[in-house]
């Protein structure tokens, strides 16, 4: 904190685009910013427990170096010296990447994920690796092997998951922004629980190279930020074709910040009525209803429609995700880079004991489910059917996007729940993903933004879904709403 023009400036309260402004106007230096975050981490991390690995010491050195090089004119770039936090399932060369698992407790990747390369190319500063549910399987971050991250709005509540560390860190303002990953809602749901903005891009917009795979056909990296403009800025950096990822799409580069027009007049918004039925909390419904009214006021056209297979899609999601996971997690074998059981009689014991001792219950559960649905005799009944349902939901979405520009739903059926409240009933936990998974199954972009709080003061998230590669549309819709309700000015954690 320091004085400028008589007004006290709290650096960590600022958004990244505000920081950029202050850097440009020389009101702040790069080292000011990093130091402010390091101090803030010292103050808050004990409560929030968002980080698995902290890089604060290195960060200060880096900040000095970058500051120097910027002053000498050696580096340019509008994000040089801006700190960031990275979910601990993205590989960082020379820094541990644990995936929240005992399996990778000591794993140091020999290479950088493509997104990490991009962050480094911008000379951004990595403050550390953020907590998550083990191998991104979970929606509360309670399945992390290392620690339970707390929701900054109420430390007795979960931050959501699996990118709970990322969302909590942004909400607690111990990082200005963060990268998360989303397989079935893992960016959007914690963003909703923590009252921040989370964007899951279209499948193929951001390279998955270096993202430790949970379910390859569903995983996507995206930004978790304080506001929509920051999300657009970070998306500008991480989006783009990558030759190392065959499933990344080669489309022309777009400046997403240019899409933020603060205008939704004539925007056609579809409301799928199945997302407002049983199981959706009343307060959430009311809050989303208010948001819909707000959009009407802002000149958008609202229409209700039916997306009647969302339950089937949820079933299909768990089949596909578990099947892919059961295969993706085979490489964790106790031989090359993982945990190894201390006692074994032969090779098979290394495999079986290492895997059984180092994978948590939820991971094992999904491996077993995935192995089951792929095993002979069940493939046609589960996996093949699930992939047919996938075609079906894509068709339904295609049809919907012939009529609507954006589909609006709640992000989660509930607000953040208490730590320990749900971790014993897996099916119940799975069912809570109902609002988010269809977006992954169909490969669409979805953004969660805060739209209000409940009586307890916990944030409620609204999800906007766009057609493939129509990030600009949902970013503008989200931005326009954000400008209208000024959530950040009205609500804060603590």
């Amino acid at each position: 904190m320091r004085q400028k023009g008589g007004k006290e400036m709290n650096i960590t309260e600022l958004t990244v685009h505000e920081l950029q402004e202050k850097l440009k106007n020389k009101e702040l230096t790069i080292t000011d910013i990093t130091k402010a975050y390091v101090d803030r981490i010292k103050e808050k991390e004990n409560d929030v427990q968002a980080f698995i690995t902290l890089l604060t010491e290195k960060a200060i050195e880096q900040a000095k170096d970058i500051q120097n090089r910027v002053e000498k004119g050696e580096i340019k770039g509008e994000l040089a010296g801006i700190p960031i936090g990275i979910k601990d399932n993205m590989c960082t060369k020379g820094v541990k990447t644990t995936c929240g698992s005992k399996m990778l407790e000591n794993f140091v990747a020999p290479y950088d994920a493509t997104v990490v390369e991009k962050i480094n190319d911008e000379n951004m500063i990595d403050l550390g690796k953020l907590n998550m549910d083990e191998f991104a399987m979970g929606s509360s971050t309670e399945y992390s092997y290392f620690k339970k991250t707390k929701n900054p709005w109420n430390l007795n509540k979960v931050p959501g998951g699996s990118s709970g560390g990322s969302a909590a860190a942004v909400a607690a303002e111990i990082v200005p922004w963060a990268l998360g990953s989303d397989t079935g809602g893992s960016i959007r749901q914690p963003s909703s629980f923590c009252g921040v903005v989370g964007l899951k891009p279209t499948y193929g917009l951001v390279s998955r190279y270096g993202l430790v795979a949970y379910a390859s056909s569903l995983d996507q990296i995206g930004p978790i930020t304080k506001d929509v403009k920051d999300a657009a800025i970070l998306l500008n950096i991480i989006a783009g074709h990558d030759e190392k990822d065959t499933t990344s799409t080669d489309i022309p580069k777009v400046d997403y910040t240019k899409a933020l027009k603060n205008d939704v007049k004539g925007l056609k918004i579809g409301i799928p009525k199945e997302f407002f039925g049983e199981g959706i909390n009343e307060e959430v419904k009311v809050s989303i209803q208010k948001a819909i009214e707000k959009y009407k006021e802002l000149g958008a056209e609202i229409e209700e429609f039916s997306l009647d297979i969302i339950q089937d899609v949820l079933a299909s999601y768990y089949i596909i995700a578990s099947a892919e996971a059961s295969s993706n997690l085979g490489r964790f074998d106790g031989i090359r880079y993982t945990y190894r059981t201390p006692e074994f009689k032969n090779l098979k014991e290394i495999y079986k004991k290492s895997r059984s001792e180092a994978f948590g219950t939820e991971v094992k559960r999904r491996i077993i489910l995935g192995t089951y649905v792929l095993s002979s005799g069940y493939y046609d009944a589960y996996y093949k059917k699930a992939q047919q349902v996938r075609t079906l939901v894509m068709n339904q979405f295609n049809k919907a996007f012939e009529k609507y520009d954006v589909i609006l739903t709640p992000t989660s059926p509930t607000v953040a729940f208490n730590i320990g409240e749900k971790s014993n009933n897996p099916l119940e936990m799975y069912l809570a993903d109902i609002c988010t998974v269809s977006v992954n199954v169909a490969g669409l972009p979805g953004i969660s933004i805060p739209c209000g709080v409940n009586q307890e003061g916990m944030p409620i998230g609204m999800q906007l879904i766009g057609n493939k590669f129509c990030e600009e549309t949902i970013l503008n819709a989200a931005y326009t709403f954000e400008q209208a309700i000024k959530f950040r000015e009205n609500y804060k954690p603590e």
């Binding site: 020999p110 430790v212 795979a213 059961s326 493939y379």
Partner: protein, 479 residues
């Protein structure tokens, strides 16, 4: 019942390493014999977060192989994961192809005693090779080397159309020569770049139902394949004769004991849980792509053979031998370009060169000299610069330390003596030393002439022109 009462049924799954520069899903080199784990990267080591990207040459080579073996090329293909745990398979799944292989329904023709026979090919698909387990001499463990992990393979699956070990060898040799001709694999069996899983079953003659088969994995020499089939056929017939049942199992052939042994842990049920690899996109080949490859295919062995029969009048046997290896066939054609004497080149290849290859267990591709050197050798003999017996010595030298034959003979002083004066000198010297032979010859013993020529050759260390020697001895003796 005796062995003659049974029919042998054999099907082969041949794995051929493709001779691409890089691995199938990453840019690591594929060179054989590098230091352990030096041809690896995060991708082929299956580091978390890495992704495969398919090498375009692998698709091209597989399609080439398919077209050269009369396969239908699939317009809609994909990669699948085959899941199982083994330390040489770092991802715990092999990226292979399950229900949509690149090539299907082909055949290869072999020559049998009863004429030509078609061996059906079920499919050819692309997949990645596994790493290698080395045994630790001191510590009593195994050591994992992943240099080979991710080297591209095609698997060529035959129909159970083969009926004997001889047919098996013919099929394999034919397949090997085709792959060499189209230059998709170097097929070096001793380096494991061509290896076969052999499925064997027997049934009573006349039965239409196939017997239970056993599979012998990873065989990489013609000799062991033949021996293993013979052993396994005998074993199966013995089991059946004793009223037993053949168990469907995977066997390991042990070269030393000459026996097969069960390979897998029985409690490990195999269920590979194949599913489409979500990290890779579909392969949809266009007509144009396939047509272009078709047009780029080189001449295949069968066609070369016909040409040799017609243009060079080679015997069927010689033409078969030369065309069995692309390397030999190329050597033959290129040497002819140099010396324009097909008959002589043919003779060198089918006699002396083949003999040396057999004696030293060398593959044709390992022949150290080139066609130009062979052609020069023929020219030197044709011109009378050296005798054909010196020629044989030059060939031996070419195998040991290949260089220009002219240099060899100069260096070794092997140039034939064709100077009349010099020859006469030798003839006179030998005659003077051997009066008895002169008497013998004059007494009607023609053999004495041979003895004298031999002595003269000895004197000149084989360098004298034998025709001139003969002529001059006769002149002197008949004086």
């Amino acid at each position: 019942m005796s062995r003659e009462d049974y029919e042998i049924v054999i099907g082969l799954e041949v794995h051929a390493e493709l001779s691409t520069n890089t691995k199938i899903f990453c840019s690591c080199p594929t060179k054989f014999g590098a230091e352990p784990n030096t041809q690896t990267c995060p991708i082929c080591m299956a580091m978390p977060g890495t992704l495969p990207v398919l090498n375009e040459k692998v698709v091209e080579y597989a399609v080439k192989a398919g077209l050269a073996t009369n396969c239908e090329i699939s317009r809609d293909s994909k990669n699948d994961r085959k899941n199982y745990f083994y330390p040489d398979l770092p991802k715990a799944y092999q990226i292979s192809q399950f229900d949509k292989p690149l090539c299907e329904n082909g055949y290869i023709e072999i020559d049998t005693e009863n004429g030509k026979k078609k061996i059906g090919l079920t499919r050819i698909h692309i997949e990645e090779d596994a790493g290698k387990l080395n045994h630790d001499e001191f510590g009593g463990g195994s050591l994992v080397d992943l240099n080979r992990a991710g080297v591209p393979l095609i698997e060529i699956v035959s129909e159970p159309d083969i009926r004997s070990s001889e047919e098996t060898e013919k099929y394999l040799r034919k397949l090997k020569s085709i792959l060499e001709y189209i230059e998709v694999s170097d097929c070096k069996m001793q380096e494991g770049s061509l290896r076969a899983d052999v499925n064997v079953s027997v049934r009573k003659k006349g039965d239409t139902k196939l017997g239970t088969r056993t599979e012998m994995k990873n065989m990489n020499s013609f000799r062991s394949i033949t021996r293993a089939i013979e052993y396994e056929v005998d074993r199966q017939i013995d089991v059946i004769k004793d009223g037993g049942k053949i168990e469907q199992e995977t066997l390991r052939w042990d070269e030393v004991s000459g026996k097969t042994f069960p390979m897998r842990d029985k409690e490990d049920a195999q269920d590979y849980r194949y599913f489409p690899d979500p990290d890779l996109v579909a392969i949809k080949l266009s007509e144009e792509y396939i047509q272009n490859i078709k047009e780029s295919l080189p001449e295949l062995p069968e066609s070369r053979k016909q040409r040799y029969l017609e243009d060079y009048r080679l015997s069927e046997k010689d033409a078969n031998l030369i065309t069995s290896s692309k390397y030999l066939s190329d050597l033959f054609e290129e040497a002819i370009q140099v010396c324009n004497n097909p008959k002589a080149v043919n003779n060198w290849i089918i006699s002396d060169i083949s003999r040396i290859l057999n004696e030293t267990e060398m593959e044709p591709v390992e022949i150290p000299f080139d066609a130009k050197q062979l052609g020069k050798l023929v020219i030197l003999i044709d011109k009378g610069t050296i005798s054909s017996s010196i020629g044989k010595k030059v060939l031996t030298e070419l195998f040991e330390n290949p260089r220009n034959p002219e240099e060899i003979i100069k260096e070794k002083g092997w140039i034939q003596i064709s100077d009349e004066g010099a020859i006469k000198e030798v003839v006179l010297k030998i005659l003077e030393e051997n009066p008895q032979s002169i008497a013998d010859y004059k007494g009607g013993k023609d053999k004495a002439l041979g003895f004298l020529v031999g002595q003269a050759m000895k004197e000149t260390k084989g360098k004298a022109n034998p025709q001139m020697l003969n002529k001059m001895f006769l002149e002197e003796l008949n004086k």
